[in-house]
Symmetry: C2
Subunit: 136 residues, 2 copies
DNA sequence: TTGTACTGTAATAAATAACATTACAGTATG
DNA sequence: CATACTGTAATGTTATTTATTACAGTACAA
């Protein structure tokens, strides 16, 4: 899966929760993660699409959680960020005239879906509030 | 995780199981997967290291499973291929002077380890024999 | 004992994906 | 209307994957 995005999104959300009494700017967030502010804005643009973050434009603008941290499960974060199967996609097209090649993708897809399912279930057990609590 | 390698390894192993009465060449395998034979040999080199495949050099050489398919769990395949955390690694170094930045990697690592654990457990429930059986 | 059909592996190139940067239009605030 | 932000497009850079070429080493078989 698209490397690093889960980490970054969770980092952003954790910051927003820890400093939930103010709006945070992309510059500030970028400073904590140590990446480019534009990447932060892009990543947040995605989190907004998924209803996890809201933003205010203009001077004194910035970002905040769109709902209480205890209503955000880490599986929601994963789903927001996910864009490829967890175990990777082969970008080859197996030979359809081979018994295995013909069916492998179907079976792999099913297997991946199952594997992904247990991860989602696992991540669903922890909320952002739980996670942020670890940062004393 | 290193994209496509799990798919490719499993494809290889499935072929070896389905046609277990003969040695398969890298050319043949590459033809079914539709990738370069050298990649197949490289991937198999890794599977050999992990005791899943054995090979015979020279004319009439090729590859075969190193043990019965029912003794190979899909988690063994995953472990053989795995080289990075399942949920990705951020390659940034979070700001250590930030409360969140300072601790985030520790907490992410723990979370990732947990998530990976459930996947491995899940994959451990299916053997290569189970998987190959699907290819009627 | 030599040609042939393989594996094993290094080196390199090409393609793709991830990440960074620049630039600037749009918006809210004071 | 100057300032401090977000939003987003366009482009550049770097890293990772995948493909290819090349060839040494090995076993079989005539």
């Amino acid at each position: 899966m698209t490397n690093g995005r889960f980490s970054i999104s969770l980092h952003i959300l954790t910051l927003l929760e820890m400093l939930s009494d103010e709006l945070l700017t992309s510059d500030y967030i970028a400073g904590s993660i140590n990446i480019n502010p534009v990447l932060v804005r892009k990543e947040i643009s995605n989190l907004k699409k998924h209803g996890l973050v809201e933003s205010k434009e203009g001077k004194a603008g910035g970002y905040a959680l769109a709902k209480p941290a205890r209503q955000i499960r880490l599986s929601d974060v994963y789903q927001a960020v996910r864009q490829a199967p967890l175990l990777g996609t082969a970008k080859n097209s197996p030979n359809p005239s081979c018994v295995v090649g013909k069916q492998i993708n179907k079976h792999l897809d099913a297997l991946y879906a199952d594997a992904e399912d247990v991860v989602v279930k696992k991540l669903g057990k922890t909320t952002l509030a739980d996670f942020a609590r670890k940062f004393a």
